[in-house]
Point group: C2
Chain length 337, copies 2
């Protein structure tokens, strides 16, 4: 069959082809006001309060990696998507698709991670499902978690809300998760081990929201990395975003791994980082709040929102040049989450 008429790995990359598929086929067919916003979590009013609701399936390979496993990832990823709406995550669902033959011991280890991560994040797993498919019809273990959280009054955070003049900040170094998976997959042994940054960020977001209600956008740069996520926000808000390469932290080991393997850290996935776009008058307060949390201790201001070049992200390089940073096109690292 003509490859252009089939689903490609790149349709799951989080980059351009993913966006095409989502926009044309899913949002096109199933359109409603909430879905069409394309935020990581949907927000709506129910019972007189506002709720956030989100879903993610996790297909990461291998299922165990330095710094975490598919279970920790499944809790943190969904908790963080709720946090990007400014919501306090409350309840998670947990659905397993298991390949026949998975050692029960491995499943138990994953459940244990789920328990630890949900306990740290303060969420309850209230409902679940288990499916088993024949050997060779799945790859060990896939997990879906969906989550429900409460959006406090007065909070209105969305990828659509960035405004020229806003400050762009990042909670820490980029590329850790993607490079940890790659190193594990390829059997590399770095002198300084590269570990996934996988972590629940809802506690940090709570602290940030206590410091200021003028947080316009929160987004965790997962598949497609920082570059793709900033492009999404620039498109959703119809603004330009300028970032400064020298301000974006990359750990030495991660930088070295990226060089060795030919990856640009701007496109490598993170699972424990948050981008915040904040009104300029409150930027310092929010940055300080981020830094008070252990997951944000290395937070920094990396750029600003501008009215020029709407829909585009422009990087000032270490050498002072300016270049457009596009979304991820093609597939960089399949099955990173």
């Amino acid at each position: 069959m003509d490859a252009s008429k089939t689903v490609l790995l790149a349709h799951g990359s989080g980059g351009k082809l993913s966006q095409d598929l989502v926009r044309k086929m899913f949002v096109g067919e199933l359109a409603n006001e909430t879905l069409s916003r394309l935020d990581d979590a949907a927000c709506f009013s129910l019972n007189g309060g506002r709720l956030a609701f989100t879903t993610d399936s996790y297909v990461v390979s291998p299922i165990f990696f330095p710094g975490g496993d598919i279970g920790k990832l499944a809790v943190c990823g969904t908790v963080n998507d709720l946090a990007t709406a400014g919501a306090a995550p409350k309840f998670l669902s947990l659905a397993f698709i298991i390949e026949e033959g998975l050692p029960l011991e491995d499943l138990a280890r994953v459940v244990n991670s789920i328990k630890a991560a949900s306990s740290e994040a303060g969420v309850c797993i209230v409902t679940g499902d288990t499916k088993v498919v024949n050997r060779g019809k799945a790859d060990r273990l896939f997990i879906n978690t969906s989550g429900v959280g409460i959006v406090p009054d007065g909070i209105n955070i969305s990828g659509c809300n960035a405004k020229p003049g806003d400050i762009v900040m990042l909670s820490g170094s980029i590329g850790d998760h993607g490079m940890a998976i790659m190193a594990q997959r390829e059997g590399f042994n770095f002198k300084v081990p590269v570990e996934s940054d996988c972590a629940p960020l809802n506690g940090m977001v709570t602290t940030m929201l206590e410091a200021s209600k003028n947080i316009h956008v929160l987004r965790d740069p997962t598949r497609g990395g920082l570059a793709t996520t900033l492009n999404e926000i620039a498109a959703q808000s119809n603004v330009g975003i300028d970032i400064d390469e020298t301000k974006i932290p990359v750990k030495d080991a991660v930088g070295a791994a990226c060089e060795l393997l030919g990856f640009d850290p701007l496109y490598v996935a993170n699972e424990g980082k948050m981008i915040a776009i904040v009104a300029p008058e409150d930027a310092d307060k929010v940055l300080e709040a981020m830094r008070r949390n252990s997951y944000g201790s290395k937070a920094s201001i990396i750029g600003e929102v501008v009215s020029g070049h709407p829909g585009r992200v422009v990087l000032k390089t270490a050498l002072g040049a300016r270049r457009i940073v596009d979304m991820l096109s093609g597939e960089l690292l399949p099955r990173i989450c």
Copy 2:
């Protein structure tokens, strides 16, 4: 590896091994009051009202079958799980795991079914996710839907609430879904085609709840069939359940297919049927309400809840004998939903 230490197909059957896995590993580790009830949907208070929340992954093979496809199933299954809590389904999430190489045309056809089913059920798809895995690492398409619904005031429906004296009713014939999948899988051509009963039952449940608030249990008998679901309720409520074989409708074509293939329709999956257990004084009203809905037009009273033999289901056979009907043990039909 020792097979007793690995996940088996039967762990996903909905029967005994499934229950063991869920009770020991999942509920054991992740215990909280809501999860431990083991209802199809979790109910909790949020923002001063009561919500229901549920999740299911769908791995049915083949993805297209007479009477439906994986998309229709994914909407109806989750809508029906919310309805079993007496909840009005409102919002669904939709997460795809796609095997590389799936024709986009097939995906579009599934999305179309999702659109039609969610429109019929009156639910909005508000959030989603798409993952793509390499060829051979999944089987065409898996879908997870999770759902949020509102539980009206004064409703308290749970598998734990059956009481001796209650009337057990069923909304129609059993075994249609399972036999439709089997026929499709095996390439059988029956003279009278067997079609899946896959349908959203929330409208019927609303009508039933308008007729009476004395509905104690609602449950859709999916994996494991009527026999397994009644056993679950008997265990949850610590009561006995007596049913009458002659009162349980089985379509001729389904009965014939079951005989041919050696299946007992009591264990075959349904995707558009509801069991209701109702206080005796309101049984007629609820039965009438069911029958007014097109999906319940063949509803009938099939038995009653008794105080004898707690935890057991006893069938009065067509010949007048009485036999214990156990849960499904082993795996009857893998990947039925």
